[in-house]
């Protein structure tokens, strides 16, 4: 009994988590239902009864194909355009899957960045240690999946430098991120090693304010906004597809330029 109880507990937790996710995201199951109920489209395609799950699966398969095509198109030598300081968008917009009243407060003094997976050195990093690494700065355009864009100024550790310091296996396929605001996402290794991919600690010359992801944000001018996680707590290197908060709901995983 003492052995069984915790096993049941784990299964129950996983089940509950899945159920809650489905409840939180009613739009996910509805998006095709809505689209297929359109009279015009049904007339054109000549079919009114389409298996919604198979349609959704087909669209997701094309999205996975698009991931491959984009990985193939990605030339790490191409740099995103940079801008002068007077072109910075002020105020830079806040954006998250929650409202501004739910921005997380992270205690910087006790903060440790966890590093796991295919790395040589798994020690957790204090902010001061990250500050001691070589720093870089960029003024680049943040492009949101919604279409809008804004120019901002970020400073921090080039992510390739950080990956070298932790002895990351750069032949691995994915870098995953877990965040203090329960956000999670993952990126491809070539983008992780891109010259403009920055483990950002600063925004506009000051430590990242909570609204922009204190204490750490991954800044990639080659990726859409939802691929740029804020409040990063843990980084892991893996060959197992980690998905992401929005990606699991249908946003394209590669999500970049």
């Amino acid at each position: 009994m003492t052995i069984k109880a915790p096993r049941l507990g784990i299964d129950g937790d996983a089940l509950l988590k899945d159920a809650l996710r489905e409840l939180e995201l009613p739009t996910r199951r509805l998006f095709l239902k809505r689209s297929l109920s359109l009279g015009g489209l049904s007339l054109l395609t000549g079919c009114t009864i389409v298996d919604e799950d198979s349609a959704e699966q087909a669209l997701m398969r094309v999205s996975r194909l698009n991931d491959k095509v984009q990985g193939w198109l990605f030339d790490p030598r191409h740099l995103a355009p940079t801008y002068s300081a007077d072109m910075i968008t002020r105020p830079f917009p806040f954006n998250a899957y929650y409202g501004e009243n739910q921005i997380r407060d992270v205690d910087g003094d006790s903060f440790r960045l966890e590093v796991t997976g295919m790395v040589a050195d798994r020690h957790a990093w204090a902010l001061a240690e990250l500050r001691a690494l070589p720093q870089a700065e960029q003024i680049t355009r943040h492009i949101c999946v919604e279409g809008w864009s804004a120019i901002g100024r970020w400073g921090g550790v080039p992510f390739a430098t950080f990956l070298t310091h932790i002895g990351a296996d750069t032949s691995a396929r994915y870098v995953g991120f877990k965040c203090a605001d329960d956000y999670y996402t993952s990126i491809d290794m070539p983008t992780a090693l891109h010259a403009q991919t920055l483990l950002a600690l600063d925004y506009d010359g000051e430590p990242l304010p909570p609204r922009y992801g204190y204490p750490i944000k991954l800044r990639m001018p080659t990726k859409l906004g939802y691929k740029n996680p804020k409040h990063i707590q843990a980084i892991f290197i893996t060959n197992t597809y980690p998905g992401g908060y929005w990606e699991d709901q249908g946003y394209n995983w590669f999500g970049g330029s």
Binding site: F31, S35, L44, L59, L73, H78, E146, G250
Partner: protein, 198 residues
Amino acid sequence: MTEDATPIHPRWLRVTHWINALAVVLLVMSGWRIYNASPFFDFRIPREVTLGGWLGGALLWHFAAMWLLVVNGVVYLSCNVMSGRLWRKFLPLSPRAIVTDLLGALRGQLSHADARHYNAVQRAAYLFVMLDAVLLVVSGLVLWKSVQLPVLRELLGGYESARRVHFIAMAAMVAFAAVHLTMVALVPRTLVTMIRDA
């Protein structure tokens, strides 16, 4: 086989026409939903005519249908060029001829006796919509791959400018479709010739 025994539109043209029509409908309707996520003009597209339900769904449709448009477009243009049809049907074309035929059409004096022959307004309209489709693909590529395609991006004036170009090119495509469908309604026989060996 004599010229008259052959169908007015070759089979490849009819097939690519309808695949293109489907791709355009899917792309325009899902594109409207994507536009609604962050409109840059003072209006939104009514939800009822958009596709995808939410932004993520619309993006899935858009980035699937784009393959349909591009692959089908390449097949269409290749067949058109290789068969020589592009030059035979759409050229010569002069501004004077367009004006003459347009005035004739407005007076109801333009003949439709020979469906094999495109008048100057048709030639101009079909060539325009071909170029517009190319502009839609190019501006779409810039929005999708702005870092990887620096030359095209700068040609269109940067990312934000490319959004407007993409939208305006869409509006031109929709305007073409509106006129096109009106003309088909006025001369229903043209619909039949686009479907079967007529």
